[in-house]
Amino acid sequence: MMLRHDRLRGAFAELVKTPNSAVGAAIVVFWILVAVAAPVIAPYTPTEMHDARLEGPSLKHWLGTDHLARDVMSRLFWGTRTVVALAPLSVLLGILLAAPLGLVSGYVGGRLDTLIMRGVDILMSFPTLLIYILIITSFGPSVIVVVISIALGSIPPIARIVRSLVMDVRSKDYVSAARLRGERRRFILLREILPNVSGPIVVDATIRIGYAIMAIGALGFLGLGIPPPTPDWGGMINEGRPWIFAMPWTVLAPAAALSSMVVGLNLFADGMRENAQLR
């Protein structure tokens, strides 16, 4: 247990060595802390209505109030929770759905591989945002539908990456050894291959969380995201847009928060990738 802990710490120390990934990690950690501490640091509850609507920044409301007289800063802080919880969740779901496809396709090969990859190619040529819109229109916007549609949209690229990783590992000696030992296919896939391809999958997942944040934001912006009054950065931009010229802060704040989060994640992922390549 001790050993494992040290290894983890070593890996983290190495990650933070490159300045870009350190900055990225700092940004991401900052927003995670905001999400955790939202009830403590937010001055008001996110749905509480105050006296004045569309009021500029003041001591009482640092980022002003929105069109329903709600405190923008409180909504911003609480909205962090939506993003921090839902984006990783949808990526995780996407990996759980796509990884088996990629594993089987890459390891078994042959007709099954051709069939799965044909399907993946076809889905890849379907514009992702249109898939989301279609699914959300049919099922109605809700947290679960948003998460599931983003997960479904990420299946083709994840399956493809997992497949190519598996194909690299498939012909390694330890896999042949396991095969010669007479291990079952399931054992080889889960115990020999999966642990050895999981590193790159994690790096890819980090980038994908960034995409998921953008997708949740875009859906909120289009009015198809998490239904109101739950605070959500994309939804805040959508609601504040008609008043952008009168009260730019109500839209600038969530737009900047969302951008900084994705920038942080991508810087962090870049660092991870560079590290993986150097080794």
Partner: protein
């Protein structure tokens, strides 16, 4: 050659067939009562029954799909529930506007993205590369709706240079029209420039490390000659493919930009259709937009085939 073209066209038809089934399934089979959801919960039952009748919802799904798809092959996309006009007519007008927007975005982003990427690739790990790489990382990470908000606030609110909405005005002169399009086109281009620059950088750096470039340098050719005559052509193949395969991302960008600037293109039409549960319009528009995406990818593939002799001979040898 003919075999290659036929293969591509076959794949394209297959793709469109599967996608049309998917679209039909998600949009019309999944909702229990598409007529009710199109008209909303407060519509009288007679109106819903009437619409059910017109949509032919009593027939089995397979028959409905077959009717829908054969209609489309004859150019009949059905009638929009909300606008009560043929979907084909509505979409035709809008798709032109969206293509114009996307085309302008392309004209803007290609030279900039490629040039930035080339500079970064040539100066790999030195200062210009560091700066360009950081900027493109940021551009890649900022979603188009956010960068659009930033640009609107900076250029229309604070500086007052360009309008923040882009409703085209048929009576406006070219100058006014251009002024309205600058911000949307810029947002669209920013969305892709980072990605394009990153792709080009990697590809350029790879080419610069290759043996044939070393040979050229050792022959004593000037640096610019090496880059211009030897490296560029090979280095640009990868980003060209990458950007064509990225057309789905571009479509997402177009949709967001159209909504952000109130530009009446296909993206906004689709979103309005989604908001109003106008299923026939949503299905038709989605199919057209997906067709544009798939066709672009096929064209890119064919273009690549002619650009890159390696692919040509590899296939011939097989």
């Amino acid at each position: 050659m003919t075999a290659f073209l036929l293969n591509r066209l076959g794949t394209m038809l297959m793709t469109m067939l599967v996608i049309s089934m998917l679209v039909f399934f998600i949009a019309e089979v999944v909702p229990v009562d598409p007529a009710r959801s199109a008209l909303g919960p407060y519509a009288p039952q007679e109106a819903v029954d009437d619409l059910r009748d017109r949509m032919g919802l009593d027939r089995p799904a397979a028959v409905r799909y077959f009717d829908w798809i054969t209609g489309i092959l004859e150019g009949d996309f059905g009638e929009s529930i909300h606008y009560q006009r043929p979907v084909g007519d509505l979409v035709a007008v809008r798709v032109q506007r969206s293509l114009a927007l996307a085309g302008l975005g392309f004209v803007f982003m290609m030279p900039l993205g490629l040039a930035l990427g080339c500079i970064a690739g040539i100066t790999e790990n030195r200062l210009p590369d560091r700066i360009i790489s950081l900027i493109s990382s940021i551009f890649v990470s900022v979603p188009s709706f956010a960068s659009g908000i930033f640009l609107i606030v900076i250029f229309s609110l604070w500086l007052g240079w360009f309008p923040g909405v882009s409703m085209p005005d048929p009576d406006a002169g070219i100058f006014d029209a251009a002024k309205k399009l600058i911000l949307p086109v810029l947002v669209l281009a920013l969305d892709e420039i980072g990605y394009l620059a990153r792709m080009t950088r990697v590809s350029m750096a790879e080419v610069m490390h290759s043996d044939y470039i070393r040979t050229a340098v050792l022959k004593g050719i000037s640096r610019w000659q090496v880059i211009w005559r030897h490296a560029l052509r090979n280095a640009l193949i990868a980003p060209f493919t990458a950007i064509m395969l990225h057309v789905n991302w571009l479509i997402g960008g177009v949709l967001v930009v159209e909504v952000l600037f109130n530009y009446p293109g296909l993206g906004r039409l689709l979103l309005d259709a989604a908001m109003r549960n106008d299923i026939t319009l949503l299905m038709g528009g989605t199919l057209v937009l997906t067709f544009v995406a798939v066709a672009t990818q096929v064209l890119a593939d064919i273009g690549l085939y002619f650009m890159n002799p390696r692919i040509r001979f590899e296939r011939a040898a097989r």
